[in-house]
């Protein structure tokens, strides 16, 4: 797909968008005001970011105090990242153009693949996975790169998407390239996530359902086979089915998470009053932040957070519906699917609905790269919302 023909298509598409945009701006100059963006979406994002900050502070201060002697250790940087993220989001919403986004496809793709390869050689190991490169996670960028590349590819192949040769295979190849590289990092959650995003986009992009199903079933069987022959994976499965098999080691996080969620009850212990954050849940400000939220805010609070996510996703899909073109629609769907799948997987993990794998909760989990990337993506959606068909 990296052939000159493809590049030409990209350039051509870009030109046509530019022309179209120029015409529209001429016809309706008022459309390029910032107020044109989807306000409910913006409000929802800001609400989630704010709640996320509150929860990061609440969940992290004990851990921060014990580890660094400074209760503000995590919230300080998270606040900074959130501020920066908001700026990035607004700048993106304001200044991004369809052309810029299309122009970014190739560099993003190259950059992502390069970092994914590089991290295998000079990455930093953390939690048994080699996923850090100079303080950021290439897999975070990869999610976005997949979305862009897949959108571009689907647009390019649009007429032949329902065929095997021209639809499933090129898209599949793209996905396998990314997933393979991420899998080499032993970053299971990101592999699953990227694969799911890609699959969803192929589905939306009009891939042949029969073939997709066929590959899907084959893939699931393959994964099941790997699990069955790999003692490590099998062990994980057993722990998933009964975390109390190894309550002090492999099942520890899950059990502690369930204790937190379970003790929350209907209304929770009150904001800031979690007990499980006192070193019971390791890194409570990261992947298990939702457990602390459940413990402090109860079922009602958890319901509210999920409702905010659902509203955001619904609003995001609405933007995709009304997207001015196919590419924007696919990018929007990709981004919103990423948010949705990541949220579902994260809550699934903390409630032990799915096997334990490190996956962060969008807007909530502390971490610079992921928040900046996420806010940037939200900026793209806001930007697209400004150019919606009315």
């Amino acid at each position: 797909m990296n052939n000159p023909k493809a590049a030409g298509r990209l350039r051509k598409g870009g030109r046509s968008r530019e022309a179209k945009g120029g015409r529209s701006a001429e016809a309706r100059p008022a459309r390029m005001q910032m107020t044109d963006m989807d306000l409910p979406f913006f409000v929802l994002v800001m609400l989630l970011v704010s709640m996320g900050l509150v929860m990061v502070y609440s969940a992290s201060y004990a851990n921060a105090f014990y580890r660094f002697g400074d209760s503000y250790y995590f919230i300080r940087s998270q606040l900074m990242w959130a501020a920066l993220g908001t700026l990035v989001m607004l700048l993106t919403a304001r200044f991004l153009t369809d052309r810029l986004l299309r122009m970014a496809v190739l560099p993003t793709f190259v950059f992502s693949i390069a970092t994914l390869v590089l991290v295998l050689f000079i990455g930093t190991v953390k939690y048994g996975a080699k996923r850090w490169l100079f303080g950021f996670q290439p897999s975070e960028v990869a999610k976005f790169a997949v979305i862009l590349a897949m959108s571009w590819l689907i647009c390019r192949q649009q007429k032949k998407m329902n065929t095997l040769r021209e639809g499933i295979l090129p898209c599949g190849a793209l996905l396998v390239l990314f997933c393979g590289l991420i899998a080499l990092e032993r970053h299971v959650s990101a592999t699953v996530l990227v694969f799911a995003i890609g699959a969803v986009m192929m589905f939306v992009g009009g891939a042949h359902l029969g073939w997709m199903l066929g590959f899907g079933v084959t893939g699931v069987l393959g994964v099941a086979g790997i699990i069955l022959v790999s003692p490590h994976a099998m062990e994980r499965m057993k722990i998933w089915l009964d975390p109390f098999l190894d309550p002090l080691d492999a099942g520890f996080q899950t059990i502690q998470s369930l204790y937190a969620i379970g003790s929350g009850g209907l209304f929770g212990l009150g904001i800031g009053k979690s007990r499980q954050k006192y070193l019971y849940i390791p890194e409570p400000q990261n992947d298990f932040i939702f457990s602390i939220a459940c413990e402090e805010l109860g079922f009602v609070g958890a319901l509210l957070i999920i409702l905010l996510f659902v509203l955001l996703i619904w609003r995001g899909f609405t933007i995709a519906f009304k997207a001015p073109d196919r590419f924007s629609a696919l990018v929007s769907v990709g981004i919103m699917s990423q948010v949705a799948i990541q949220t579902i997987l994260n809550i699934g993990v903390v409630t032990n609905l799915v096997p334990n794998t490190g996956i962060s909760l969008p807007f909530f989990s502390a971490g610079g790269t992921s928040l900046i990337m996420l806010m940037f993506e939200m900026g793209i959606l806001l930007n697209i919302s400004r150019r919606t068909r009315r």
Binding site: Y66, G205, L266, F299, V310, I313, F317, R326, I347
Partner: protein, 757 residues
């Protein structure tokens, strides 16, 4: 353009349908599933997870209450708890192997627990492993220092307490002891455990996963309520007196099956002292002192060892005076006399004749004196402890009445003393004694039934205190730390059993027994003592030849006879010396006890003129005086001075000043440094008359100090002496010789029952 637009729209149609489907899938299925799961965990399983979470988040520390103190009746501490500490480790908080090794090594050094044991504990997978309990404050501080020095988070201390018994083996069977958890398991400690123990307090605090308290903590404290203190009726001094004499008696008479004594306030039932010898150390109740038993144990291994050890402990801890029963023998004649007088079946002036036996229902039952006592009245019969007289009384009282009185005097039931394990005794069944003439006859002189010593002394107290059967008790008050009385135990009169008049008669008759009967070895100059001897056969324990050869020698005395205050019952179970009658060996021991106890209780001797004349005097201090002056002082005081050396000044005197010495006793005065005191072997004077003993000692250079019976009386010979014959002692010092009445003493005649049959 339009074509492309149309295509776009067509494809967008598919895309929009698929997007709708995707949205529905994400929201309708995935998010709903998540919500359902959250509902399950947070609402349905809330209680389960909450309990589990709280269980791990909360540290519920029990604050041990301080166990109450046990005082004697003069508030002398007999048992107290000192606060100590438990040293424990949290193995999960140990950071690495080096730290574990350091902890094991250092704790082993400080606490004396083996390094290996501690190392094993450091490997445990929890937060609480006790290394040592009841660690003193000093050692605990050392542990604290260690913790601070090496920043050992895994090392911790908690309050606990240790029971201390300041007097060790003193009153061990009565006070009892506690186990390592502070629960009373013997004696008063056990009976009043719920009073002494108090209410534990709790500290509920939050802890983090490392087991340390959180800086942001929620804490709730329920303070411990200390246990109440007990004030016993026991008198520390009285207890010491009887223990001293009882212990001597056990050694002297080679008592095989332990000896016991009870001192009771006859008017209230309060126990002033109660002792069993040999005993054990309350601070180390599991240490076996008996070397024979230790040797036996050393032969055993494993289960057998444990079993035998437990048996030995049980018998060592057995509180003989209330748990063991015995045949009271002639001491019981006090009861028979009381019943006979109360029933009016005997006239004090009527004459009985003892031919040395009595035929009861065709059986010949012997008197202890083979030739018989001849004619005698009731008083003489009691003084002689003549069995035929009492068989006659028994027959006159009759089995039915005897049974009723035994019941009324509490011989058929537990006394209800505040100790666990009391036995009820074994008295004849009503139907048996009502018909059986032989049973009544033998019962009348105290054989064929068993009572506990506490039952016996309680019944005898009733016979001499004016007829009231008292409830014996050991605790007089329960008080709190501020001294407020929580509960006051008043004496309890169970019932009036005999009239005051009868009781007075019995008391004065018993005084005559001591003054001039089988109990005369219990006589003390200046005091009016009443009492009765007893020598019983253990008829249920026969030797290989089928002869019941084991004896129990006992004596029960009370004083003052005209106004009884205290009674002492002492029992020597299986003494092994030549003569084992109560009159010969038990009465002198009780006399010694009275000699110490009565003045202590403020009952001063009232001497007759005759008694005054023979009293000993204290040797005056003549050291540092010129020889002539010293000689004069001693002569004036009634002693015989003997100067050793050529000096002009007395450098040393033997016996030293303040020692009691009989009139005319020899006092050596040393006047030269070279001529200091020298030692000589003490001669054996046992069996000699007072005169002969004095002469023999004097020849060897010693002074005689006569104790026991009045040496002016007939048939008095030397018994025990101290220092013992053959020992080396400083010439001029006092040799204490106890004189006893070598006269006839009663002997039990139960064997005669069998012979007659």
């Amino acid at each position: 353009m339009s074509e492309q637009g149309r295509k776009n729209t067509a494809l967008a149609g598919t895309m929009q349908r698929r997007m709708m489907f995707l949205l529905a899938l994400l929201v309708g299925v995935c998010f709903l599933a998540i919500l359902a799961r959250l509902f399950q965990v947070q609402i349905l399983q809330h209680d389960y997870y909450q309990a589990k979470a709280i269980d791990q988040q909360v540290r519920d520390t029990t604050v041990a209450p301080r166990r109450g103190t046990i005082y004697d009746r003069n508030n002398i501490v007999l048992a107290m708890s000192a606060s100590t500490e438990t040293v424990y480790i949290a193995p999960k908080s140990i950071r690495n192997q080096e730290e574990a090794a350091l902890i094991a090594r250092e704790l082993s050094r400080i606490l004396g627990v083996s390094e290996e044991t501690i190392l094993k504990k450091t490997a445990a997978n929890n937060y609480y492993e006790i290394v040592k309990r009841q660690v003193t404050k000093e050692l605990a501080d050392e542990v604290r220092l260690l913790k601070k020095e090496h920043n050992l988070a895994a090392l911790a201390l908690a309050e606990d307490s240790k029971r201390y018994y300041p007097y060790g083996s003193f009153a061990s069977h009565i006070i009892g002891f506690t186990n390592i958890d502070g629960k009373g398991i013997e004696g008063i400690e056990s009976y009043y455990d719920d009073v002494l123990v108090g209410m534990p307090g709790r500290i509920i605090s939050a802890k983090n996963a490392k087991g340390t308290d959180m800086p942001f903590r929620y804490e709730q404290m329920i303070s411990a309520q200390h246990g109440y203190n007990l004030v016993l009726t026991l008198d520390e001094a009285v207890q010491h007196f009887i223990e001293k004499h009882l212990e001597n008696a056990v050694t002297e008479y080679n008592v095989q099956n332990r000896a016991t004594a009870i001192v009771m306030d006859v008017n209230t039932g309060a126990i002033l002292a109660m002792a069993t010898k040999p005993d054990f150390d309350l601070n180390d109740p599991r240490v076996i002192k008996d070397e024979a038993l230790l040797a036996e144990l050393a032969q055993l291994e494993g289960e057998e060892y444990d079993k035998r050890q437990m048996e030995i402990w049980q018998s060592m801890w057995r509180n003989k005076p209330i748990v063991d029963t015995y045949e009271p023998g002639s001491v019981f004649k006090i009861v028979t006399t009381s019943i006979a007088l109360e029933q009016g079946v005997v006239n004090p002036h009527e004459t009985f004749y003892c031919p040395g036996y009595k035929i009861v229902a065709g059986r010949r039952i012997s008197c202890w004196k083979a030739g018989g006592h001849g004619s005698q009245d009731l008083l003489k019969g009691l003084q002689n402890s003549c069995n035929p007289v009492f068989m006659e009384l028994g027959a006159r009282i009759g089995g039915a009445a005897f049974y009723q009185y035994a019941e009324a005097l509490g011989l058929r039931h537990k006394t209800g003393i505040d100790l666990y394990g009391e036995a009820a005794g074994i008295f004849h069944r009503q139907d048996v004694i009502s018909k059986g003439q032989v049973e009544v006859a033998v019962t009348a002189f105290g054989q064929t039934f068993k009572v506990t010593p506490i039952q016996m002394i309680t019944a005898i107290s009733a016979c001499v205190n004016g007829g009231k059967l008292m409830q014996p008790y050991l605790v007089s008050k329960i008080v709190d730390d501020e001294g407020n009385v929580i509960k006051d135990f008043e004496p309890v009169v169970k019932r009036q059993v005999i009239s005051e008049e009868t009781s007075n008669k019995v008391a004065s008759m018993l005084e005559a027994v001591v003054a001039n009967g089988t109990g005369r070895n219990a006589y003390i100059k200046g005091y009016r003592i009443g009492g009765k001897t007893g020598t019983s056969e253990k008829i249920d324990e026969k030797n290989e030849q089928g002869v019941a050869d084991k004896r129990i020698s006992s004596f029960c005395g009370f004083a003052p006879a005209d106004n009884p205050q205290i009674a002492i019952l002492m029992i020597l179970d299986e003494p092994q010396v030549g003569q084992v009658t109560g009159g010969l060996i038990a009465a002198p021991v009780v006399r010694k006890m009275f000699e110490d106890i009565l003045p202590y209780l403020g009952l001063m001797p009232q001497y007759t003129e005759e008694e005054l004349a023979s009293l000993e005097k204290s040797v005056p201090d003549v050291t540092a005086l010129p020889v002539e002056k010293a000689r004069a002082t001693l002569r004036e005081a009634g002693f015989t001075p003997q100067v050793v050396g050529q000096g002009t000044e007395v450098l040393e005197q033997v016996p030293r000043a303040a020692l009691k010495l009989a009139k005319g006793g020899k006092v050596l005065l040393y006047t030269e440094l070279e001529e200091t005191s020298y030692s000589a072997e003490v001669p054996d004077v046992r069996g000699l008359s007072a005169e002969a003993a004095g002469e023999k000692l004097s020849r060897a250079g010693f002074n005689l100090r006569a104790t026991g019976k009045d040496i002016t009386e007939q048939n008095v010979t030397a018994g025990m002496q101290f220092p013992a014959a053959g020992d080396m002692a400083v010439v001029g010092s006092v040799v204490e010789v106890e004189f006893i009445h070598e006269a006839e003493s009663e002997w039990v005649a139960v064997s005669g029952v069998e012979n007659a049959g």
